[in-house]
């Protein structure tokens, strides 16, 4: 019987909570998985505010600390 390759999980902290991920998601993939539209949020990775253009290229790694907030704005 063929053996499965070992699952390589990584653990990140997302908005203060530990999360186990089964792969190295990009920030965009993670946001979509968490049902947050990338254009509607600000993302900080390990204390650094990311540019929107980095969401698709930045890959999450073990022990990363990710903070995501919705943009807050409006008008009279």
């Amino acid at each position: 019987m063929p053996t499965r390759p070992p699952t390589s999980e990584i653990q990140i902290t997302f908005n203060g909570r530990k999360k186990r991920l089964k792969k190295n998601y990009s920030v965009t993939e993670w946001l979509l998985r968490e049902k947050r539209r990338p254009e509607r949020v600000a993302v900080e990775l390990n204390g650094v505010l990311l540019q929107k253009s980095e969401y698709a290229t930045q890959t999450l790694r073990s022990k990363d600390v990710l903070e995501v907030v919705y943009h807050l704005g409006g008008a009279a």
């Binding site: 539209r37 903070e67 907030v69 943009h71 807050l72 704005g73 409006g74 008008a75 009279a76």
Partner: protein, 133 residues
């Protein structure tokens, strides 16, 4: 319904007047339905007709709130001329369905209005505000 600490209500109205002629903004934290702390934040638009909270400042505030074992429950902003009701842009930019929107109007200085709303999928629902000690 939400509960708002009386002292926090005074801080909101005072901050709104202090920021005039720009719109004031900030977030509120608490537990359950009680809004117990106000965090005034910068209006990056520096405008009397719109507001946008600096994301970096917001991220730092959210972490501070979490460190106190509270949750960010509401966003606050003031309207200088308009009523205390969400504008079309307020509704369009209400991305977080769980956040309460507190709006204060300075249009009638003698009777400053403060109202609370839930905005989900473009639908506005007013929430009763009960003051707590």
């Amino acid at each position: 319904m939400i509960e708002l600490a009386s002292s926090v209500q005074e801080k909101l109205l005072s901050y709104a007047r202090q920021c005039h002629p720009e719109e004031a903004c900030g977030v509120l934290a608490g537990t359950g339905r009680l809004l117990e702390e106000f965090y005034p934040l910068s209006n990056q638009d520096r405008s009397g007709t719109s507001f946008y909270i600096d994301p970096k400042e917001l991220l730092e505030t959210v972490k501070l709130i979490r460190s106190k074992r509270l949750r960010m429950l509401a966003v606050f902003h003031s309207h200088l001329e308009a009523d205390a009701y969400p504008s079309a842009k307020d509704i369009r930019l209400a991305y977080d369905p769980d956040l309460i929107h507190l709006i204060c109007s300075l249009a009638r200085p003698k009777e400053t209005a403060l109202r609370a709303f839930r905005i989900r999928d473009g639908k506005v629902t007013e929430l009763k505000v009960q003051l707590a000690d």
